[in-house]
């Protein structure tokens, strides 16, 4: 079995990855196409960077990208803070009143269709309009609140999984040596779950950066996020500057993932080497 992979599996892998990546590749290639028709290759004038220039000159796109970035960072930070607290409560406080409901509330946002989440949050903001006036003018604030609410659930899953692998006796040992509970959390628990907090932050950022449906419900006329703008443009058909935008995003993400990936692999290797060195009498 190991060593002899069947042709079928190899073909599925090849087909699957082609399926995943060819559309992205096509999008990148077309971003250098001079033709406004996007998929009709204008051999005379291509490749060209014209659409990139146009993209960066498009104030509307730049403005919404900035807004999206701001909301996504704010959301990620908020979701990580609340998510860490919630994950800690779920993982470390086995029994407390209302735990069942709490467990439900922390997982349900993942299962709930976005349309329902968006709808219900909008209804809340409308109802709160008279009570809390600053929520009334829907915009960046309401979008951020909505994003924190649904991305928090994903952050909780990531952090809770990591927390479960942190040996409880580490926390007990710290307490045994005289550290008070809050200090145990900051000096022992937090550093140990840091990788999960970082990936939780990235996950929450991406979820917010990418979200269209919930945003559309809770945003106001003055605030248009990047996905909203992209959606309104592509609804009318393909558009060459969107290809340029997609290419840039793919590039950024790829670089980030590759850097993070190699860093992790290197870390893993060093750990393995260190552990081996410990048993080597020569060292």
């Amino acid at each position: 079995m190991p060593g002899r992979r069947s042709l079928f599996v190899l073909m599925a892998l090849g087909f699957g990855f082609a399926f995943l990546y060819l559309p992205i590749l096509a999008m990148i290639i077309y971003s250098f196409n001079a033709s406004r028709l996007v998929t009709v290759w204008d051999a005379a004038n291509s490749p060209t960077l014209a659409w990139y220039v146009e993209l960066f000159q498009n104030a509307q796109i730049m403005e919404s990208a900035r807004l999206s970035f701001r909301i996504a960072s704010l959301n990620a930070t908020g979701a990580v803070i609340l998510g860490t607290l919630a994950a800690f409560a779920l993982e470390r406080y086995r029994r407390f009143r209302g735990r069942a409901l709490f467990g439900l509330l922390t997982t349900a946002p993942m299962v709930l269709p976005e349309v329902i989440t968006g709808l219900s949050l909008l209804l809340l903001f409308v109802a709160l309009q008279d009570v809390v006036p600053w929520l009334g003018g829907r915009g960046a604030t309401t979008i951020t609140i909505a994003h924190i609410t649904f991305s928090m659930a994903y952050v909780i899953v990531v952090i809770q999984a990591r927390l479960a692998t942190v040996d409880r006796s580490l926390e007990e040992a710290a307490m045994d040596l005289g550290a008070r509970p809050w200090k145990v959390f900051f000096v022992i628990t937090l550093p140990l779950i840091m990788p999960a907090i970082a990936s939780g932050w990235v996950l929450a950022f991406i979820l917010s950066w990418d979200d269209l449906v919930i945003t559309s419900f809770v945003s106001g006329p003055s605030s248009t996020t990047l996905p909203q703008l992209v959606f309104s443009k592509v609804r009318l058909g393909v558009s060459p500057d969107i290809n340029a935008l997609a290419t840039i995003l793919v590039l950024i993400v790829t670089v980030c993932v590759v850097v993070a990936g190699t860093y992790m692999v290197r870390l893993e290797r060093r750990r393995a080497r260190d552990a081996q060195a410990a048993f080597d009498p020569a060292s």
């Binding site: 040996d167 006796s169 580490l170 007990e172 040992a173 710290a174 307490m175 045994d176 040596l177 005289g178 550290a179 008070r180 509970p181 200090k183 022992i188 550093p191 140990l192 750990r271 260190d274 552990a275 060195a277 410990a278 048993f279």
Partner: protein, 376 residues
């Protein structure tokens, strides 16, 4: 070092009676009773072992001493002070965890220094005490390593150093040698005892390994289902078990049931149907006349001979059905005419001797003091 002597001087003045006193301690988890009405007294400088199988409540008892679990009922006094409600971070007690619980993101030195830092000890003193401690556990030069760069034995010593550096009144050790391989374990056992003698700290050790308990402990408490069945020195526990469970749990034993047929203050005779005869014991037994008793005989206390021994009592014959040569001794399985299987261990005193063979008929006998009679 003068802090230690000062501490000692201070504590000796207040110490009247036992150093650690556990008073009718009970711990319930929902309906489950993990520890039931346990009372125990431990003296200063003792190595006390809590011995029992998994789920017997020994770890829960230890965790109550450390302060990780709050007792449902009862109280704990250390050096005369009621610490029952004191949180773990304020107890004069430190623990060495079974998993060692070394902080993976800190170096060896940082791990050892952690406890002192919590007390706000001056930096210079922390440094000197950490160095001193690492020297004591023979880990000089390892201070900048991270736990994952250490071998199992080294980790164990870091954990020990970390727990001892605060000079606790009481050191709790949860299966201290459980994660080490056999060779290292034997070596470490003696190191642990030496260290304890040098520092004079009172140890409470939890273990499921009876050999570990026998070598380390000055006294052992045998636990089963949340209760302490017997407390005593290793010799007491082995030679004078007070119940079938203790006799069976510590070492190997032949157990059979019987009834009193002769009950005198200086000796008794017990009829054991499974032996097909009576057992003569050279001491009295306090038990109602018709009660069923258990007779326990250790395998090494039975002698095997080819010829019929001269003594009149405690003589049986049987057929050898199993032989296991272990080097230092040989274990035999002997079937009595009643079908009962008796375990016998014989030392291999001579390099060349005519050893017993399978299916050979042999005589077995033991001294009148060899058998232990238990009523529970």
């Amino acid at each position: 070092m003068n802090t230690v002597s000062a501490q000692r001087a201070a504590s000796t003045t207040t110490a009247g009676g036992p150093y650690v006193r556990i008073d009718r301690l009970t711990k319930r988890f929902g309906d489950f009773v993990a520890v039931r009405q346990v009372s125990l007294e431990i003296s200063r400088g003792e190595i006390f072992c809590l011995l029992g199988g998994s789920g017997c409540g020994k770890t829960t008892l230890l965790r109550m001493l450390a302060g990780f679990e709050t007792p449902t009922e009862g109280a704990i006094f250390i050096d005369g002070v009621d610490v029952t409600q004191v949180p773990p971070y304020e107890r004069p007690v430190n623990m060495m965890f079974q998993s060692y619980a070394l902080f993976p993101h800190m170096t060896v030195a940082q791990n050892v220094a952690f406890g002192l830092q919590q007390d706000g000890t001056a930096r210079a003193e922390i440094e000197s005490r950490v160095r001193e401690m690492l020297m004591l556990v023979k880990l000089e030069g390892y201070d900048k390593r991270k736990p994952h760069q250490l071998s199992g034995g080294q980790r164990q010593r870091v954990a020990l150093a970390r727990a001892l550096v605060k000079r606790p009144k009481l050191l709790l050790l949860d299966e201290p040698l459980g994660a080490l391989d056999k060779k290292l374990r034997e070596h470490t056992q003696f190191e642990l005892v030496n260290l304890q003698e040098k520092l004079g700290v009172t140890f409470v050790i939890v273990t499921h390994d009876q050999e570990e308990a026998m070598t380390l402990a000055s006294r052992i408490g045998v636990m089963r289902s949340g209760e302490i069945l017997q407390v005593g020195s290793p010799t007491d526990i082995y030679e004078y078990p007070n119940s079938r469970f203790v006799a069976d749990f510590i070492g190997s034993v032949n157990l059979t049931e019987g009834t009193l047929v002769e009950d005198e203050p200086d000796h008794v005779r017990i009829d054991c149907p499974q032996f097909g005869g009576t057992v003569y014991v050279d001491h009295g037994v306090s038990s109602p006349p018709d009660a069923t008793l258990s007779v326990a005989i250790r395998p090494e206390k039975i002698q095997l001979t080819r010829e019929r021994p001269e003594q009149a009592d405690n003589v049986l014959s049987g057929v050898v059905t199993g032989i296991a040569y272990l080097g230092d001794a040989t274990r035999y399985l002997v079937r009595l005419p009643t079908g009962f299987m008796l375990r016998v261990t014989a030392p291999n005193m001579f390099r060349r001797e005519e050893r017993l063979a399978h299916d050979e008929t042999v005589w077995l006998h033991w001294h009148a003091s060899a058998a232990v009679v238990v009523t529970r």
